[in-house]
């Protein structure tokens, strides 16, 4: 088990996210304070409507808080514009979505290549990397298939390969097992766990399902936009 380092990758200080719903203001997140250290396996657990997706958006630099500060590797993203945010996202965060979000018109290999193309990686190196990742997730024989020709589990494995393409520091997964059966879901979680243990990646899973909790080093409970409690779990290996 890797030692938990003390420098936080993500530091959220008194962050609010407020949506204007007509004349009523709705606070999706209220005064969130959270530190995530490098190399942790975080599960953000909460029922639907708890604000966990909003929190994921902040952590993933998909959105900025209405109030408060979100820092990624010591840089305050709250004041960044969209192109700076996309730059950070592209380099440091790999996303895995509940509904896979593969581009339906691109084949498996092209989907995995896409993040590398946005980073303007050398094409031959990018292909090599993409193929290697697809090999790791066991889809080396499906490179030229379209997502629609794959099963849900296979699609999520493509999505995992895509999230790892730029070798990001953080892998951020939004309900990664939500659309999968238990067995495939376990495979995905095992895979993320292995990434965490063997490569020291920071894994953040946002879910309402308790299943991923057993892999977590820290569980963040969120309800009604408020962080209820943070559980630190010491795992015996």
């Amino acid at each position: 088990m890797p030692t938990i380092e003390t420098n936080p990758v993500i530091k959220i200080h008194d962050a609010w996210k407020i949506y204007q719903m007509g004349e009523v203001e709705f606070a999706a997140l209220k005064a969130i304070n959270l530190k995530i250290n490098e190399g942790e396996f975080i599960v953000i657990l909460g029922p639907s409507g708890s604000g966990k997706s909003t929190l994921m958006n902040l952590i993933g630099c998909l959105d900025v808080p209405s109030k408060g500060i979100v820092c990624l590797n010591g840089e305050n993203i709250s004041t960044m514009d969209e192109s700076e945010l996309s730059n950070i996202r592209g380099k440091t965060i790999g996303f895995i979505f509940q509904s896979f979000n593969l581009l339906p018109t691109l084949n498996v290999l092209e989907n995995v290549l896409l993040p590398l193309e946005f980073q303007e990686t050398d094409p031959s190196k990018a292909r090599e990397r993409a193929k290697k990742l697809l090999d790791i997730v066991g889809l080396a024989d499906k490179l030229h298939n379209l997502p629609s020709q794959l099963s849900g589990g296979q699609r999520q494995r493509v999505a995992i390969a895509r999230s790892l393409a730029v070798n990001p520091q953080i892998v951020l997964a939004d309900e990664p097992t939500g659309n999968l059966d238990t067995k495939t879901g376990s495979y995905i979680l095992e895979f993320l766990d292995k990434l965490h243990r063997e490569e020291g990646k920071t894994i953040i899973i946002v879910t309402h399902d308790r299943e991923p909790v057993k892999y977590a080093t820290q569980v963040v409970h969120i309800k009604d936009g408020i962080l209820e409690k943070i559980e630190h779990i010491e795992k015996q290996q």
Binding site: N57, G60, L62, D63, E82, S83, S86, N87, R89, G90, K91, G94, F95, F97, N101, L103, P104, T105, L106, E110, L114, P115, E117, F118, Q119, E120, R162, S163, V166
Partner: protein
């Protein structure tokens, strides 16, 4: 993201477009095809007029009896050298007034006039080997006609000063009107007079092909209502085309004097220059092309709106994909470029098909009877490579312009919002 990657993505989107996108492309196809074929048709018509103007005698002025204030001229009429008067439509008072010897004399000494010839014309039956056909006969001054005419000879010779009962005939008269061809030195009969053919003119593709030109004295004898010293028209040829306007003014003054007319309202003659006929013909061609191009441009505009519409829908449909791309590192610029290139491609495909359709339309125009607008089959309607290129460029530009706003909108989407879109 690199340009090649943009192109790849844009092509991918295009290839996976729905039927709707292809229907949109048809709008551009039709627009471009219309513009391309109309412009090329207009071009070739104008070239036609140009080439006719070049071979046309622009130095002749025709006087005809009768006058209307708005002397309208028909397009494309040939010079008045053969006494056609450029086809000016004159008022019905033409019957009461004649041009006479005196008028010709009055004009003779104007500076700038090289030749002047009074002419008579009429339709008479021509008999040849037992067949009869009513053809137009022009009586001209055989002293000067050979210098004034712009027609070229096919065989034989033009009229000479000593000629009397001879004729130079148009090409159709010689070859098609009668069952048996008329050759040089054959004799035809007009109102009982035997007339020997001395020359046959080259085909011009107009009505001069079916005309007969004779010395005026003989013409007066064979044309029933013609009288000597009375003319149906007087044709003057100036030294050069710059002289036409001043000479015309002076002719007008001299004729007013000699005919004793002091009041503009009593004027009973008209002056037409071949140059003004040619100009108005080419102007008419131009304005017709302009008008048709305008209509074609409107259809292009409709096509552009169609592309914009489809692009908007396409962007909305791809909201979630755009969100995903942004989440995995696409910058605003990347999204903008992908969608702009995509709509440029739509324009390119539409433009290419449009140019092809336009070429096909252009090549079948002549078969659809468009030749009526053209005088002779000298030059086919040809689509120039420059025009094709312009057509393509316009199509691509339209694609890009109409795709710009939707693409910009796509690029500005916030990833968190876009990802939530279902």
């Amino acid at each position: 993201m690199k340009n090649r990657a943009y192109l790849k993505m844009a092509v991918n989107i295009l290839l996976h477009s729905k039927l709707r996108s292809w229907l949109t492309i048809i709008g551009i196809v039709i627009g471009i095809a219309a513009v391309v074929s109309i412009i090329s048709l207009g071009d070739s018509m104008e070239q036609d007029v140009q080439s006719q103007m070049n071979e046309m005698d622009l130095t002749s002025i025709t006087v005809t009896p009768g006058y209307t204030k708005a002397t309208s001229t028909m397009p494309g009429a040939r010079g008045g050298a053969r006494g056609e008067g450029g086809g000016s439509i004159t008022s019905s008072i033409a019957d009461d007034t004649e041009l006479t010897d005196d008028d010709e004399d009055a004009l003779k000494n104007i500076e700038g006039i090289l030749y002047i010839s009074g002419q008579v014309s009429g339709n008479e039956a021509i008999n040849y080997t037992g067949e009869s056909a009513t053809l137009s006969i022009n009586g001209v001054d055989s002293q000067v006609w050979q210098y004034m005419t712009t027609s070229d000879l096919e065989t034989g010779r033009l009229l000479e000063p000593a000629d009397k009962y001879v004729a130079v005939i148009g090409n159709s008269v010689a070859t098609t009107i009668f069952d048996r061809e008329i050759g040089v030195n054959q004799v035809v009969s007009i109102n009982g007079k035997s007339i020997r053919v001395v020359g046959i003119l080259e085909s011009e593709g107009d009505r001069s092909d079916s005309e007969i030109v004779m010395p005026i004295d003989a013409a007066v004898e064979v044309i029933e209502d013609a009288e000597s010293d009375e003319f149906d028209s007087i044709v003057a040829k100036t030294e050069n085309s710059d002289m036409v306007d001043p000479v015309m003014e002076e002719m007008e003054e001299k004729l007013m004097l000699s005919r004793g007319i002091y009041n503009e309202d009593d004027r009973d003659f008209s002056l037409t220059s071949s140059a003004s006929n040619a100009e108005s013909a080419s102007e008419m061609m131009e304005s017709m092309t302009f008008f048709l191009s305008g209509i074609a441009a409107i259809s292009l505009l409709v096509g552009a709106v169609g592309i914009a519409n489809t692009m908007f829908t396409s962007v909305i449909e791809r909201t979630k994909e755009i969100g995903t791309m942004k989440a995995i590192g696409a910058k605003n610029r990347d999204i903008l470029m992908i969608f702009i290139i995509n709509s440029a491609l739509v324009g390119f495909v539409g433009g290419t098909l449009g140019v092809i359709l336009g070429s096909i339309a252009t090549s079948i125009f002549p078969m659809l009877g468009v030749t009526i607008m053209r005088r002779s089959g000298t030059s086919g309607v040809v689509l120039s490579p420059t025009l094709m290129l312009y057509g393509l460029i316009i199509a691509v530009a339209i694609g890009m312009i109409s795709g710009a706003i939707p693409a910009y909108k796509a690029s500005k989407m916030r990833p968190a919002d876009a990802l939530r879109y279902e």
